[in-house]
């Protein structure tokens, strides 16, 4: 089966919409991706250094707080505490606004493939806020380290991620110190393997890749020096760097510890054949099928290798491959995508979502996502969210999806569409007969809408 616009919008975008036409062909999807990022301009999310309160803002206030507590003057402590509450509330408000903007982009985007790619890569390079106070900085990390690179080169995204304060904090690299470095102070500080291991296992060559515990250890030594300065953000601190040359996956890198040496290793990792294979499998496994056709993965991996990790070329191979257009198999929408595609199909105004009250965003969207098993920006581990359909379509997950489909649209949308129309808007011109019948037979608009959005036909892609 060749390119199909409706399936293209559903499988590679955020679904069909009464307002936004589906992509005409693969070329237009890719040229939109290469063009300006209109959704980001329309529903802005600040980059890390401008997301207020910023990390330096918070570090400064924390220092003032410690000083006030040390001095022990009650009035000063109360004053700094009051400012802390203001700062914390501002952080929470931005976190929620970032969520609203993410959902709005999904609902309103003309170039919805970019939104899906952003979600995919943010999950591939999962970051969680280690402390609640920096939770509002996760979306800015995605905006800065992931989104600009989703149509670019894998190596560039990898380097942006590995030098980002949020990743360095999340996987403990910021505290890792070469055992023989100056900062180790005779062994009082030392190595932490966390980022090095996940870099190999999750980010590049994959858990079945050609690495051993020695490679993890060498990689951890090689990465020393990457750290976070609470005032300046990302920093390379040579005092933390382990002296000497490290060997990772058979390549020995310069004995001159530097950011360039680290980048050399990341550039190699980014184009390792195992990385090509692993990344191709991850992309196809996310967009096309839980267990994608090996021929599709092989074709994508070959493109990855031939182009040195040019992601747009890898997507082009995917969109051109017949296995990407099979209607059997496919994927189940993860909860965020389910909710966004439902709102998009209902014709919800993206600007209204971006400007919704905190209470609406929490009660109608964030809380239901928790019950569906996908708490916003809080996957359990650095491997991110599960891909397999069975991980989501459990009794409890299904109950949460049905509950939301039956109740939220009626509360979020002023004029619910006629279910007989929605069945075509949401599912395309040839919806399955039982869903058409159910849309007609429902006792109320709300229930008709609920049944359509709950249907397997809508939740699969």
């Amino acid at each position: 089966m060749p390119f199909d616009p409706d399936l293209g919008a559903i499988r590679f975008g955020t679904g069909l919409s009464p307002a936004v036409p589906p992509p005409a062909d693969a070329a237009s999807m890719l040229s939109a991706l290469a063009g300006p990022d209109r959704a980001a301009a329309r529903w802005p999310i600040p980059v890390f250094a401008q997301a207020e309160p910023t990390m330096p803002d918070m570090a400064k206030l924390a220092k003032e707080r410690r000083n006030a507590e040390k001095a022990g003057i009650a009035e000063d402590i109360a004053a700094v505490q009051a400012r802390y509450v203001v700062q914390r509330d501002a952080a929470r408000a931005l976190g929620l606004a970032n969520f609203g903007a993410t959902v709005a982009r999904g609902i309103g985007a003309e170039d919805a493939f970019r939104e899906r790619l952003t979600w995919f890569w943010a999950d591939h390079f999962t970051v969680r806020a280690k402390q609640g106070i920096i939770a509002h900085l996760v979306t800015p990390y995605v905006e800065e380290a992931i989104r600009p690179h989703v149509g670019g080169r894998f190596a560039d995204m990898l380097k942006a991620v590995v030098t980002h304060p949020m990743m360095l904090l999340y996987l403990d690299q910021s505290a890792s110190v070469g055992p023989d470095s100056r900062a180790a102070r005779g062994g009082r500080k030392g190595l932490n393997e966390n980022l090095a291991r996940e870099l190999l296992e999750l980010h590049t060559v994959g858990v079945n890749g050609p690495y051993t515990q020695d490679d993890v250890r060498q990689m951890a030594e090689l990465l020393t020096g990457l750290t976070v300065d609470r005032m300046d953000g990302f920093a390379y601190n040579p005092r933390q760097a382990e002296p000497g040359a490290e060997t990772v996956l058979g390549v020995t890198y310069s004995d001159q510890s530097s950011l360039e040496t680290i980048f050399a290793a990341l550039d190699d990792l980014a184009v390792n054949p195992a990385t090509a294979q692993f990344i191709a499998g991850q992309i196809a496994g996310h967009f096309v099928a839980d267990e994608p056709d090996p021929a599709l993965v092989a074709a994508m991996a070959a493109t990855f290798s031939q182009t040195g990790g040019d992601l747009a070329a890898v997507y082009a191979t995917m969109l051109d491959h017949p296995a990407s257009w099979l209607t059997e198999g496919g994927k189940v929408k993860q909860p965020l995508r389910f909710v966004v595609s439902a709102l998009r199909a209902l014709g919800v105004d993206a600007d209204e979502v971006a400007g919704a009250t905190p209470q609406t965003l929490r009660q109608r969207l964030q809380q239901p996502l928790v019950l569906m098993g996908q708490t916003w920006e809080k996957p359990v581990g650095p491997d991110g969210w599960a891909e397999a359909a069975g991980a989501w379509i459990t009794p409890q997950g299904m109950a949460a999806r049905i509950n939301w489909a039956m109740s939220a649209p009626g509360r979020l949308v002023k004029d619910l569409p006629d279910p007989r129309d929605l069945v075509l808007t949401a599912l395309g011109p040839t919806p399955p007969d039982p869903v058409v019948f159910a849309a007609r037979a429902a006792e109320s608009k709300v229930e008709g809408v609920g049944v359509i959005l709950s249907s397997a036909a809508f939740q699969r892609s």
């Binding site: 996987l171 403990d172 505290a175 890792s176 110190v177 055992p179 180790a184 500080k189 030392g190 190595l191 932490n192 393997e193 966390n194 291991r197 296992e201 858990v207 051993t212 515990q213 993890v216 189940v332 928790v370 019950l371 569906m372 098993g373 359990v380 581990g381 491997d383 599960a386 359909a389 069975g390 991980a391 379509i393 459990t394 009794p395 409890q396 997950g397 299904m398 109950a399 949460a400 049905i402 509950n403 039956m406 399955p432 039982p434 869903v435 019948f437 159910a438 037979a441 429902a442 006792e443 229930e447 609920g450 049944v451 359509i452 709950s454 249907s455 397997a456 036909a457 939740q459 699969r460």
Partner: protein
């Protein structure tokens, strides 16, 4: 029960009138709730993230221990267990159980997983109960237990929480639910949902189970209200430090296990303590302690025939790392609690912590398989034959000598 049966019957009649194929729908098939084939209860807790067994149960009697853990060894703050091991201070609320013989540990244990130390593969191996991944075994070992026993129903085993638990996944019907999930639907909505899921077994089964469980829990709710208030007043709950998902999960598990459920499983995250471990590990151990105390309080008399088995994917490095934490290791510890446990003991073939004793020069050497301990518990509690454990539940396992974990 009668109420659910009636609803189903009405559904059947109108569903048929609407023209959908009622007979093939699991939603419309009356489910026989047989009482379970045994009376003992097993709760399997998965500690996700790799618990540092050497910090939870500290072998302070090993001469090398203090040197390996210069900032982590708790010293006198840890409660002495038996003159060799001591308990992390965050587990202190469990000391009354230790004193009563309702709490035990095993040490220097692991699954057969070695060397790559990936959480995710490690957890899959733990829950699949196999020696390695990629052997074609795709179900979980508690599900395989269910497959070997006649007379079980879906309600016999419960996977609790929003995640899918591999340990209970497989051919045998089990129930899955998260405590804060509710589902109330009009009869017409149920009929229409059944229709739109009809051609899709995954959706059909999940939604029909959701409807059945939600109705059953609603029907049970009247009876549970008194028990829940009893529980809040129980002196055992005084030790519970925190509120959170784990308490809800434990309360829900206890409520199910007071009824026809015999096996329950859920997970507790938060054990991946690479950095400044004392904070996060203290919180995770507090969560575990809360969970066990909530289960005990919630189970009431049933606690006497209960075994709680806590397992993690692997242990952590014997030496603390350069950031006052620990990295991924091999040998670790298990926690056992319940009235069915022969407690007050740490069971281990202790390998020692001297340089030459460590696995790969860095990890606690595992001397016993986690699966053997779980296997002996199933054998003792459910009367499962050793051969069935070694062939069907844990293929290829050698159970070895009885660790004597049960009364």
């Amino acid at each position: 029960m009668a109420l659910i049966g009636m609803n189903r019957r009405k559904f059947l009649l109108t569903g048929a009138a609407l023209g959908c194929s009622a007979a093939a729908s699991p939603l419309l098939t009356p489910v026989a709730f047989a009482s379970a084939p045994w009376d003992n209860r097993l709760i399997a807790l998965i500690l996700r993230g790799a618990m540092d067994g050497l910090d939870a149960v500290q072998p302070y009697g090993d001469a090398a221990y203090a040197g390996l853990r210069p900032t982590l060894a708790a010293g006198e703050a840890a409660a002495d267990l038996d003159g060799f091991y001591s308990l992390h201070p965050a587990l202190a609320p469990l000391m009354p159980l230790w004193a009563k013989g309702e709490l035990a540990f095993s040490h220097a244990v692991s699954t057969p997983y070695r060397d790559k130390r990936s959480h995710f593969d490690g957890q899959d191996i733990l829950e699949a109960g196999v020696a390695a991944l990629g052997t074609g075994v795709r179900d979980g070992w508690l599900n395989r237990l269910m497959q070997t026993v006649p007379g079980v129903s879906a309600e016999t085993a419960y996977a609790i929480g929003r995640e899918q638990l591999l340990i209970l996944k497989g051919q045998a019907d089990v129930s899955q639910w998260a405590p804060d999930t509710k589902l109330e639907l009009s009869p017409q909505a149920k009929r229409l949902l059944d229709m739109v899921f009809h051609d899709d077994p995954l959706f059909q089964q999940a939604s029909s189970e959701a409807i059945t469980i939600a109705e059953q829990i609603a029907a049970d709710a009247g009876g549970d209200a008194t028990l829940d208030s009893d529980m809040a007043a129980s002196p055992m709950m005084a030790g519970v430090q925190m509120t959170g998902d784990h308490v809800k999960l434990a309360e829900f598990a206890a409520a199910r296990l007071r009824g026809d459920t015999r096996i329950a499983s859920f997970s507790i995250p938060g054990w991946d303590t690479h950095n400044a471990q004392s904070g996060p590990l203290g919180r995770a151990l507090g969560t575990l302690s809360d969970t066990i105390l909530t289960l005990k309080a919630g189970l009431g008399d049933v606690w006497g025939k209960t075994a709680v088995v806590c397992m993690t994917e692997f242990g952590r490095t014997a030496r603390e790392n350069g950031t006052r934490g620990t990295d991924h290791g091999t040998g670790g510890a298990m926690v056992f609690a319940g009235g069915a446990i022969r407690g007050g003991r740490v069971v281990a073939d202790w390998p020692g912590l001297a340089d030459g004793d460590l696995y790969a020069g860095r990890d606690l050497m595992p001397t016993r398989d986690v699966r053997a301990h779980a296997g002996w518990i199933m054998r003792g509690m459910f009367g499962v034959d050793s051969g069935v454990v070694e062939r069907a539940i844990f293929p290829g396992l050698d159970l070895g000598a009885d660790p004597g974990l049960l009364l």
